[in-house]
C-alpha cells in the first residue's frame, strides 16, 4: 500500500469539502518560523512520519507561545522519531474540542465491500476499542454501484442513540464526503481519528490515507512513488527504482521490497545477507523455510510472476545485485506456465552487463533453480552463454526441490567464503 503523510492526506480530504484545521506543512526551521509568525496561537506541531503512536514518542507537541513553538520545532525537525527521520512538520491551529469521533472508510477483504467504520470514541486506537468495547464500533457495508447516499449515512448513524439531530446531519454529510475521497483517490483506507466537533463544525484533526498500489498508475498527481508495500517506513531509493518497472507495464509483475535494507536484522541475528528472487510467492516461502535455518537471510523479497517480460527480469536482477550487502543470490521458480526462457534472457543480460569482464560469470555465489515451462530452453541458454562455467554459479533443473536449492546455495557459499576468507558459516 502507498501511504500518504498526514498533511498530504488532509489535502485530499479538503478537495472533497472536509474541513481541516488552519495550518501548513514545513520542511525547514526557517519555513516553520515564517508560519508561526502568521498563525494564531495556541498551535499543535506534528512530526510528519509514516508511523502510528508518534504522540507518545514526542512527535506531537502543543505550544501556546512563539517561544514554546520555537523550542518544539527545533527539537523535532530532522530528529528521529520511531526510527524515522522527521523531514517535515505540520503546524496547525489548535482546535477547541467539544467532542471526538472516529470515522473511516476502508476495503473489507472478507466481504469485498467498502465499509464505513464509525465510533463516538475518537482519538484512541480503534483496534483497542473494537477489542475492549466492540459495541462502540459501528460498521456499514457500502454498495460500490450506488455509493453512499446522504439518507443512508444518516440512517446508519441514527442507530447511535447518543448522537443529537445536528450531529447526525453533520456526520452524515462528512461520511458521504469521506466515501467520495475513498473512491476518487482509489484508497484502501481513509481514516480520520480524531474527527473533532468544534463550535465551528467538524474538522479532521488527523488523517491516515492509504492508496491501493494497483491504482497508482492513475493517481499520478499524488505525491507517491509506485512502490510495493514497505510497511510503516518510507520507501528506499531501490524500492522506488523497482517501482518504476511495473508502473506503466502490466505484462507480468516485478515486485520488490527490501526486508532488511541496512542489514541491521542480519547483524543482530548473525545471518548472511543475500539477494533473492522467485517466481511464485508460495515457492519462495518454502525456499526461505529451508534457507534461513542454514544461516542466510534474504535482505530483499522479489517476486517476478505472471510471465513478465525479459526486460523486467533484467531490470529487477540489476536492482537486486545493486544491494551492497548481499553475499549471494538465489533464484527459485515454481512450476508454472511462466516462460522461463524469457526469464533466463533477462537474467543473462543483467549478469553480462554487471560482469562484462567475465561475460556474465558472477563473483558471488549464485544458485538458480529453474523449474517450469521452457525450463530446458532456459538452462540451455545459460550453458550456451558460458555462464554456467563460472566458479560461483549452480543451476538446478526441474528435478530439484526448494530444499535442494537451499542446500546447493549453502554448499556453494561455504566454498566461496573459504576461498575469499569471508567470516561466516
Amino acid at each position: 500500500m502507498a501511504r500518504l503523510l498526514e498533511y498530504q492526506g488532509k489535502q485530499l480530504l479538503k478537495t472533497l469539502g472536509i474541513r481541516i484545521p488552519d495550518g501548513q506543512a514545513v520542511g525547514s526551521i526557517q519555513e516553520a518560523y515564517d508560519v508561526i509568525n502568521d498563525i494564531h496561537f495556541p498551535v499543535v506541531i506534528k512530526a510528519q512520519i509514516l508511523r502510528g503512536g508518534r504522540g507518545k514518542a514526542g512527535g506531537v507537541k502543543f505550544a501556546k507561545t512563539k517561544k514554546e513553538a520555537n523550542r518544539a520545532i527545533v527539537s523535532m525537525i530532522n530528529a528521529e522519531i520511531l526510527g524515522q527521520k522527521v523531514s517535515s512538520l505540520l503546524i496547525e491551529k489548535k482546535l477547541e474540542i467539544k467532542k471526538e469521533y472516529y470515522c473511516a472508510v476502508t476495503s473489507e477483504p472478507s466481504s469485498r465491500y467498502p465499509i464505513i467504520i464509525f465510533s463516538t470514541r475518537g482519538g484512541i486506537n480503534i483496534e483497542d476499542i473494537a477489542r475492549d468495547t466492540p459495541d462502540d464500533v459501528y460498521t456499514k457495508k457500502i454498495d460500490i454501484y450506488s455509493g453512499l447516499q446522504d439518507f443512508e449515512a444518516r440512517w446508519f448513524l441514527s442507530k447511535i442513540k447518543t448522537l443529537s439531530g445536528p450531529e447526525l446531519v453533520l456526520l452524515g454529510d462528512l461520511q458521504v464526503k469521506l466515501y467520495q475521497v475513498y473512491r476518487k483517490f482509489d484508497c484502501r483506507l481513509v481514516e480520520i481519528n480524531p474527527l473533532v466537533l468544534t463550535s465551528e463544525g467538524l474538522f479532521a484533526a488527523d488523517a491516515r490515507v492509504e492508496i491501493d498500489d494497483d491504482a497508482l498508475y492513475r493517481q499520478r498527481e499524488l505525491p507517491l512513488d509506485s512502490v510495493d508495500e514497505a510497511g510503516d517506513r518510507p520507501p528506499t531509493k531501490l524500492e522506488i527504482a523497482a517501482g518504476t518497472i511495473d508502473r506503466d507495464d502490466h505484462r507480468g509483475t516485478a515486485h520488490y521490497v527490501q526486508l532488511d535494507p541496512f542489514g541491521y536484522y542480519c547483524k543482530e541475528m548473525n545471518l548472511i545477507p543475500i539477494g533473492f528472487n522467485c517466481v511464485g510467492t508460495g515457492a519462495s516461502l518454502i525456499t526461505l523455510d529451508e534457507l534461513v535455518p542454514l544461516g542466510f537471510y534474504p535482505i530483499n523479497f522479489a517476486d517476478t510472476s505472471g510471465n513478465p517480460t525479459a526486460s523486467k527480469q533484467y531490470r529487477i536482477t540489476k536492482i537486486i545485485f545493486s544491494q551492497p550487502l548481499i553475499k549471494g543470490f538465489l533464484f527459485v521458480s515454481c512450476i508454472s506456465n511462466q516462460q522461463l526462457d524469457n526469464t533466463a534472457r533477462g537474467v543473462i543480460k543483467a549478469l553480462r552487463d554487471l560482469y562484462p569482464e567475465t561475460d556474465g560469470k558472477p563473483n558471488i555465489p549464485v544458485v538458480l533453480a529453474i523449474r517450469g515451462a521452457w525450463d530446458l530452453d532456459a538452462i540451455r541458454l545459460f550453458k550456451d552463454c558460458g555462464i554456467t562455467e563460472g566458479k560461483w554459479i549452480r543451476i538446478l533443473g526441474r528435478e530439484s526441490t526448494e530444499q535442494d536449492a537451499a542446500l546447493a546455495f549453502y554448499e556453494l557459499y561455504q566454498q566461496w567464503a573459504k576461498k575469499n576468507e569471508v567470516i561466516g558459516i
Binding site: 518497472i245 525479459a310 545485485f321 516462460q339 543480460k349
Partner: protein
Amino acid sequence: MSLITFELYANGMISIDTSQCNKCSSKACALTCQNQYIDGPIVIEKGKPALKYTLDEIKQGACVECLGCELSCLLDGLGVIKINLPLPELDEYLESIDEEPVYRRKFK
C-alpha cells in the same frame, strides 16, 4: 552504416546494425523473434532484418521484449543487435551510495 532502431513499450531501445547482416547465415534474430507466442517485429527481407510492424505498433507493445534477438545474434550471429534498457532511478541510487555493490568488488 545501416541502422534499424525502435523504441520499446517499457522505455528502451533496440538497435540493429544491418550493414553486416548479409554475411550472417543463421538469421537467428528473426528465427527467435518469430518463435515467440505472438509474431514478433523482426523478419528477414532481402537477406537482412526488417520490421514487420510500424514503429508506433512496436512502441505500443508489438515487441514482447523477450530480448531473444540480442542474445541469439550474440550466440549464433554477428553480435550486431544492442538493447538499451535504462533505469535512471537505479543509476541515481548507485551514485548516492558509499559502498560499492558486489559486482564492482574483487573476489577470488
